[in-house]
Structure formats: structure tokens, C-alpha cells
Subunit: 574 residues, 2 copies
């Protein structure tokens, strides 16, 4: 008989490690224990199950060839033993065994191991507010809760829903409630924007506006103070410092924490970010590996440890653990941090660091905000894809990228390519030359990502100077705050007219191709905010004006293709 | 007054170099000369203009903000002088001037330069066959020819069309003729497959089958012997060794050659692959740069020189030339070779080397053929995306990737990410861990590209042994050729039944999850071809059988998801 391997946790990293190890060591005796009755499910699919895109919860547990991944499947097909409803109580590292309890029968047992894998995942963070434990308040932490939520929806019991937490899962759940089920849905996010730290303010604002247009009430900078119940003890409202929201259901998605108690109690090295592992995913006990949401990992950009709870990473880590269990030297170097998210007809994604995160990490960071086409502008399905490359001005290293666009895989393509290069330490120049595949139905000759890098190059070299979106919006709201500013709008005269009409002397229109000829009309005693649709014409005008000695100019990066997606109230009516 | 810069060629690399240089050196005096009257157009858009996706040829000449890129536009907006219908006759390097002829007026002129850029592009290769110069035989080499073709289509003069050459442009033109215009369209490709050298046989076969299903007659291994005319001298048929095809129009797209005559006559170093340049795109004369289709470039995988005529590269090269003209040290290191192409409801793409090309280059290459899902299998719009990673067995370096899938940007995402990593020397392990963004609407938790790398890992380590598609198809066509082979079909019993019924003793069905229990039924005196839908179950069965000592097995990589796309005639009727 081969090695005895015990794996604690049966959702993503655990089964992946188990099955890969079994294939590498067919004589190994591998046992997965999990306290749940349902294992090996696609947890990231829960919002799509709740929304109705996925009709049956069983679909989330099936292989692509339509077999349900239950205990029998693992035994028959994989040769891996699974003990569900079995809780790991303690790890006895001296005797090399795991004490487990059968939650159904109540019996206790001791499972000896040669190698142990901890894949205990994460647990939802439950806000310490009154009412958090009421009936009708759910976390999205396992399939049972998803089933309960969908049952309530299907029975017509959810006319209103509140989501506490504007992270990806919270927003996906909000879409699920609002879209198919038509529930009056509100999202509360304590931070000033949704997806805090993941994306920067302009991208969060575009996403928020889009979701609001689809009927989701998004309240940022506003946390839940308490959740209240009706006379029957069922949830009925959420109270914030600003309002009271009646609701039939509350989803609490305020983030997750690594589930590390077992590891801690066993004396393994554990940080607040998770179980400490080396790059082979070995814990401080060489016979014990850990993978998935319960570990801390390395950020490949900052070199620092961080917490990256994602199903895709858990699977990749599981394979690395499987290799190492079998004596194959396999390494998990760390994480760049990629994500993508559907939101109604749009999607948003990012990889690496946001500008805010990069500056907080001490980088001399800036960001090139652009609004390139996702495919040839003459191709019928073309749309704009606001995008931002975050870079370090000194080293020219690209630190991150984010984008917002129409729902398609166009944005995915740029995120994935950027993630690949950022993981390899790619610079602005690497991005400028990155060989994106081109044909008009798929891309532009200078791909969106190349174009974003070219703008970053112009900025890093000091050739392009931008106004921030925030400063521009502040000025539009309070012109008196910056009395020396004037807009130089270089779009077509027809496009500019409603703006000059509404904003008078603050708004000067000279079409891009007439600037050289009409430069005498351009005031030299004002700060010019140069505006077009995507920022490219504005940059060219800035460079030209520099050559004439008129250097007090700022480009609105990404132009009105960004601003028009923010839902500003000053936009001239047609 | 600043530097005098002359640029020969006004389509892609030339204008890009000109405009970028002008922005970097506002006082430079920059002149583009081009023998054509139409410049700066998106040549890759021609098939979409012919198909009707793009209604007006002017769209191909417009910026994304709807200005036509003509002489006036370049002068007014860019500050760049353009002389159209002006042919460069000779470069006098001693006097540093270009002799030009005004094709309209007939006058000659001499343009002095401090720096010169040659961006003369490529010229179509016209097969030396009788009738190649007949009326009605077109190359796709400029906008005028495209306009002429579309006019004929619009006037109803093209009921039948023949395309000579099964490269990307030829196939795109074939789709244009067949799709909107309903022309009876035939493609002749002299090589045994379309897109020769770019993709391997199984992918070419999937593409050919798809295009045939959409009514395009594709004849491979069949060249045109001659083109014949009717009594009026207009083209009326194409003759091959196998058939005569009546036609109203012939497109000759048999590849292009670098246009290097001017450079050669000026005594610059020129190879058969194009004008020789260093990595700053400087020719053998340091005052002369060259970019675009007319240069030879470096293949980043083989390190060898090659010819890569693509509009996207021309633009990237143009920017590098612009930098260097302005004294900014900027480098164009070379090319991986990415492409993507729409074909009706499908698309095909590749980056790096095909398996055939990699072996021809002397690599110890193999390829992992897979058929992964493009997004979560439980997500409604999921489809399979046959994919192949080409790798070197010794170094584990990934040399190339190709894929065929439904028309969307899903395939683009994997091509672009793969190109980014291949350009950085990525290994199988890099691909296995590549951080593809994941959410169910966009990807699988183990992304298609990660999965392809995992299979490559299994193959490189000798854990997975495949049968080639060719060998499998040969055996299906001539079972007697390999009497020792038996199919072990591990799909669901219901799926296998029609096959066991049709193929009798050659076809053994044991569902994947029953193999461990029923291993006694598996013959040990035969070579087992293990078959499933995607190859993953087959691999697991192979590994299990290895552990039982039954090692004479081969996996059908990618499984029936590949074979079912080939249009084989032996598929059992339902």
C-alpha cells in the first residue's frame, strides 16, 4: 500500500490536490474529509444559480461531462475516498493523524497520514451589528444558503433585497436579485465606492452608474448600522446612518477571512492573512501542505504577502500541492491578482494593482486613462472600452490594468494578456509592443492595450499631462473653485455647440484639425482643459500647443467616453 | 527649421512614423510620398468592406472620430505634408535626397532629407500561370481593386467566384463572396490544407469543414493551372489538374512579397525576406529607417529572420521608427507571430509556431490537443474551444498555441495571453499557473489555457501518450491497417451505443466511472485507443490502466469534440 494522504476540505483546492496526487501515485490512499454534505461545487457560480442562468444547483456540482461530483463519483472515477459531514477536530502532528467527528452519527475517529493537506477555505466575515443573526440574513458561503435564497425567490417571498458589501460577490448577487427576479435591490458599501481597492474611482463610478441604470440602488460611503426584524422575528429592514431600507432578505457579503483555526491549534505558522506556506505550498510542518482560500500568498508586484481568496487560484494551487505530494518539485510563485465580473450588459475587470493601491505601496505611480475601441471602429459591433494602465514613472514597470466595457470577452482578452505580462515584470515598452492578434472583427491595428501603453509612455516621458477625472468633475460642479480654467473642446463643432451654449466663456470650441490654423484664438492666460472623445486628439493638441509655448494645458484622459458613462447631471440636454 | 524627414509609403508604418515623429519634433519638416491617391487606409478591413459589413470604402480611411485621412487631414491636423500620386524613383544616399515623379502632372522633383523612412510595404505575388493578367482577376493589394470588386458584386455581375490561395485574406474574401452576396465560391489551395504553416492539420480541417458547411467549396492540394477567358476577354473559368471551375471573378491571394526594389537599387542591405534592419529599425545606412511589410524581422522563438507582413506590426514598428527619428532609443525586438481570423460563425487563431513549423525548426516538439470550455460549463453560452499548445519536450518552453472556436472574443483572450507569455519565453509551468481572470460568464476555474498547459505537462512528463488525429482517422478509414487496435470509449453508455453497434468488436464501451470496477473486461493484447469527449477522462483512464500494468494505450487528445468538427463520413447516424 502506498502513502496515506488526508485532505481537509472538499471544495476546490482539496479535490484538485487529491485527484492530481492520485493520478501521480496510483497506489496512494487518499481521503478527503469535509464537514459539509455537498462538496466540489463551483462556488463562483452561486450568483448565476440564484439568478436563474443556472437552473439547478446540481449543475454547480457536475463535471463538464454531466456527472455529479459526490462521494461515489470520487471513489469510482477517481479512486479517492471522501468522507462528507465529517469535521476535522484536531491535527495531531506528533502521531501524524487527524481527529475527526462524524456529524451524522456522532462517532469520532482518527485518520493517520503520511502527508496532510489543509484546504479549509475561508469563512464569511459577519459584521458585528445587531440583527446579523436574524432569519433572512444570509452569507454566500455554501451551497445550502444559495439553495435557501433561491427557494425564497422562487416562492415569491423576496420583493426587496439588501446586499451589505459592494465587492464582486455582493454585486453579482444584486444583479441576480434585480435582473430575473425583479426585486427592489439595494447595495450598501461602507467605502466611498464599490469594489474598493480593486479598481479606481472612475471605473467604480462607471460600474455604479450602469447598475443604477439597471435599477439597483447603490449607496456608497454608507454602512449598515443594524438589521431589524418584524414581529415574527424575520428580517424586515436595514438601518444606515442615512436611511432605513425595507427588505425581505439581506445578503451579507462583507468579505471573507481565511479559515485557519485548525492550523493554528496544531501549532502551524499562521498570519492574519492565512496559513504561512513556502513556494511549494508546504506549511511550517514539512509533512503538511495548505492551499486555497486558507493560505497567505505572495503578491508578485509588491513582493509582499497578501490574501487572495479565489476559486481559480485554489485550483492552480491544488495542482501544485498534488505535484509536491508525489515528490515532483512544483512551485506556486504567487499572484498578480486578476478578476473580472459581469454586471448586466457590462463587465469590469482588473489585474495587478489599482492606482490607489500602487501609491499606497509606495510606487511613484500614475495611470493612463483611455477609451479605446474594442475592435476596428468600422466594424459594426465595435464599442469603446475605457481602460487604464497603472505604471511606475521611474522604472516604467506596469503595475496594473483595469477596464470597463460592454459584456463580451473583449475585456477578458486585455486583462489576461496584461496579467501574463505583469506577472513577468513587463514594462510600458513591453506593453506597447505586445503582440495582440489583429483582425478587424477582434481588435484595432494598434490594440487597445498597446494604445494604453503608448499613452503611458507619453505620460512617463512628460509629454502628456492629464487632469484627473475628480478634478475635472469638481470644476464642472464648482467652476468658481478653479477660476483660471477653460475647456478647449476639440471635437466636431456640432458636438461642441450644446456645451458652449450651456457653459459660455468656460467652454471654447476649436475642432482638432483647425487648432494649428486658429491658434491665435486660444487664450494664453488660462489653464486649458483639452477635451475630446477618447483623449488622443487632446494629446496631439497639447503637444502642438507646447511647441507654441502655450504649456499651461491638461488633457482629459479618455475624454467624454469616460465622462458620459458617469451619469453626471450637467450634461447638456439635446 | 528642424530636420527634414522624408517617408516613402503612406499606408500604415509610414503615417504612424510620420505623425509620431512630428509630435516628438514639432519643428521637423515631414513629407510622406505615396504613388497611390488613397493613403492611410485599413487594408485588413477590405474583406469586410467587400462583404458589406462596412458600407463605404471611405470608412476604411477614417479615424475613429470620423475624419477622412487624406492629404488635407494630415496637413491640418498632423502638420505632416503628404504628396500622393507621387512615385519615389530613386534614393540618392550621397546627396541625401529622393527623386520623385508626379504621376498626375509628370514632373520630377528631388526631395532632400536628413532622415529617410522606407515604408514601401509588400506586393502581391502573382502566380506565373496563363491568364493571371485577364480582366476580372484581382489581387487584394489596394483599395481601388476592392472598390472595383465590390462594384461588380453590387451590380450583380458575380454569381461565381474563385479564390486562389487559402491564406487568411483569401478565406476572408471567400466568406465575403459567399455570405452576403451568395456567390458560388471556391477556394484553391496548392498545399494540403488552408492556412499552411500557420496552423496544424486538425485545426485546418475544422476550419475547412466549417467553411464547407457554409457553402464555400474548398479544394486543397490543388493549384490553378491556368485562368481562361470568354470571347470578350473576360475571365470565365479556372482550370486545375482535377477540375474546371466556371467563374465570374478570380481573386489571386497567393501571398505577398516585400517591396524592396528602391532599397536594393540604393545599395541598402536587402535579403529575400525584406530590407535588413537592426533592432532600432535602421537600415545599413544609419540615416535611413525602414518599417512595415518591406522589412525582414526576427522571430522571437527561433531567433531567425522571417517575413511578417501584418498591419498591426507595421503600426508598432512605425512608432519605434518615430522614436528613433527623434533620438529616443527605442527597440523593436521581433515578432512572435499572432493572428486571428473570423470565418462565418467560427474563428481560428494562433500565436508562435505550429507543431509542423516547430519540428521543421528542429525543436523536440509535441502538442497538447484539448477541447476545453470557453466559460463555465454550467453557463448558458458555453461552447468548446479546441486548442493546442505546442511545446518543446526538453526545455518545456511553449513554442506556440492555436485554437478554433465559436465566433467571439473568447479565443482572442487565450491567443493574446499566450502571445504575451511566449514572447517572454514562457514554459509549460508558466502557462499552467498563468493568472487568467475567472468568473463563470468568462472562463472556467481552470482556464482553457491552464488546462492545455496541464495536458502539455502530462505529455512532457510521459504520463500522457496520445494517438495523432491523423493516425486515428486512418484507422477509422482502414481498420485493417492497424489490426491490433481497439477503441475504449469511456463516455456514457448511451453515447457509446451507436458506435459499438456500428463498429462491433473494434469498439469497446466502458463508462469512465466504471473502469476501475470493470478492468477485467479490458483486453491486454490490444492497443487501446481511449476516447471521450475532451480527452480528460481518457487521460485519467490511461493513468489508471498504467497502474494495472496495461500500458499499451493511447489517448485521443481533445476527444470527439475535435473529431466531430471534422465532418467525417463514418459518424453513426442517430
Amino acid at each position: 500500500m502506498g502513502k496515506k494522504i488526508v485532505i481537509i476540505g472538499g471544495v476546490a483546492a482539496g479535490p484538485k490536490a487529491a485527484c492530481h496526487a492520485k493520478r501521480l501515485m496510483p497506489d496512494a490512499e487518499i481521503t478527503i474529509v469535509d464537514q459539509d454534505s455537498l462538496i466540489s461545487y463551483g462556488g463562483c457560480g452561486i450568483p448565476y444559480y440564484v439568478s436563474g442562468d443556472v437552473s439547478d444547483e446540481d449543475e454547480l456540482r457536475k463535471t463538464s461531462f454531466h456527472m455529479t461530483r459526490d462521494e461515489k463519483f470520487f471513489l469510482d472515477a477517481k479512486g479517492v475516498m471522501v468522507r462528507t459531514r465529517t469535521r476535522a477536530l484536531a491535527i495531531d502532528r506528533g502521531r501524524k493523524c487527524v481527529e475527526v467527528e462524524d456529524l451524522a452519527g456522532g462517532g469520532k475517529d482518527s485518520l493517520p497520514y503520511d502527508k496532510l493537506v489543509i484546504a479549509t477555505g475561508s469563512q464569511p466575515f459577519v459584521l458585528p451589528i445587531p440583527g446579523a443573526d436574524l432569519e433572512g440574513v444570509y452569507t454566500i458561503s455554501d451551497l445550502h444558503k444559495a439553495i435557501a435564497i433561491k427557494k425564497k425567490l422562487a416562492q415569491g417571498e423576496v420583493g426587496r433585497a439588501v446586499v451589505i458589501g459592494g465587492g464582486a460577490i455582493g454585486l453579482e448577487m444584486a444583479e441576480a436579485f434585480a435582473d430575473l427576479w425583479g426585486a427592489e435591490t439595494s447595495v450598501l458599501e461602507f467605502m466611498p465606492q464599490v469594489l474598493p481597492r480593486l479598481i479606481d474611482a472612475p471605473f467604480a463610478a462607471m460600474l455604479q452608474h450602469h447598475m443604477r441604470q439597471h435599477g439597483v440602488n447603490i449607496h456608497t460611503g454608507e454602512g449598515a448600522l443594524r438589521i431589524e426584524a418584524d414581529a415574527n422575528g424575520k428580517v424586515c429592514r436595514v438601518v444606515t446612518p442615512k436611511r432605513t431600507i425595507d427588505t425581505d432578505l439581506v445578503v451579507m457579503s462583507a468579505g471573507v477571512r481565511p479559515r485557519t483555526q485548525l492550523a493554528k491549534e496544531a501549532g502551524l505558522l499562521v498570519s492574519p492573512l492565512g496559513i504561512v506556506v513556502n513556494n511549494r505550498l508546504q506549511t511550517s510542518d514539512p509533512d503538511i501542505y495548505a492551499a486555497g482560500d486558507c493560505i497567505e500568498t505572495t503578491n508578485l508586484i509588491t513582493g509582499k504577502k497578501f490574501f487572495a481568496p479565489m476559486g481559480s487560484l485554489a485550483n492552480r494551487e491544488g495542482r501544485v500541492v498534488g505535484d509536491n505530494l508525489a515528490g515532483i518539485h512544483s512551485v506556486f510563485p504567487g499572484v498578480v491578482g486578476s478578476f473580472i465580473m459581469k454586471a448586466f450588459e457590462s463587465c469590469v475587470g482588473a489585474t495587478g494593482l489599482s492606482l490607489e493601491a500602487a501609491r499606497a505601496e509606495g510606487f511613484d505611480a500614475d495611470a493612463s486613462l483611455t477609451a479605446p475601441s474594442d475592435r476596428a471602429h468600422f466594424f459594426p459591433s465595435e464599442t469603446k472600452m475605457p481602460m487604464q494602465l497603472v505604471f511606475d514613472r521611474k522604472s516604467r514597470r506596469v503595475l496594473g490594468m483595469q477596464a470597463f466595457g460592454a459584456m463580451s470577452d473583449a475585456l477578458l482578452a486585455r486583462i489576461d494578456a496584461a496579467a501574463a505580462l505583469i506577472g513577468k515584470g513587463g514594462t510600458i515598452d513591453d506593453f506597447s509592443l505586445l503582440e495582440m492578434a489583429y483582425a478587424p472583427p477582434f481588435a484595432t491595428a494598434i490594440d487597445a492595450l498597446n494604445a494604453a501603453a503608448n499613452v503611458a509612455d507619453n505620460m512617463a516621458c512628460g509629454r502628456q499631462r492629464n487632469v484627473t477625472v475628480k478634478d475635472f468633475l469638481d470644476w464642472m460642479d464648482s467652476p468658481e473653485s478653479r477660476p483660471g480654467w477653460v475647456a478647449l473642446d476639440v471635437r466636431h463643432a456640432k458636438e461642441v455647440a450644446p456645451f458652449t451654449e450651456k457653459f459660455g466663456a468656460r467652454w471654447l470650441g476649436i475642432p482638432y484639425n483647425e487648432v494649428r490654423r486658429r491658434q491665435a484664438e486660444i487664450p494664453r492666460d488660462k489653464t486649458l482643459i483639452i477635451i475630446c472623445d477618447a483623449g488622443t486628439r487632446s494629446y496631439e493638441v497639447q503637444v502642438f500647443l507646447d511647441s507654441t509655448g502655450s504649456t499651461d494645458t491638461l488633457v482629459l484622459g479618455g475624454g467624454f467616453n469616460i465622462i458620459s458613462r458617469l451619469g453626471v447631471d450637467w450634461w447638456p440636454k439635446k
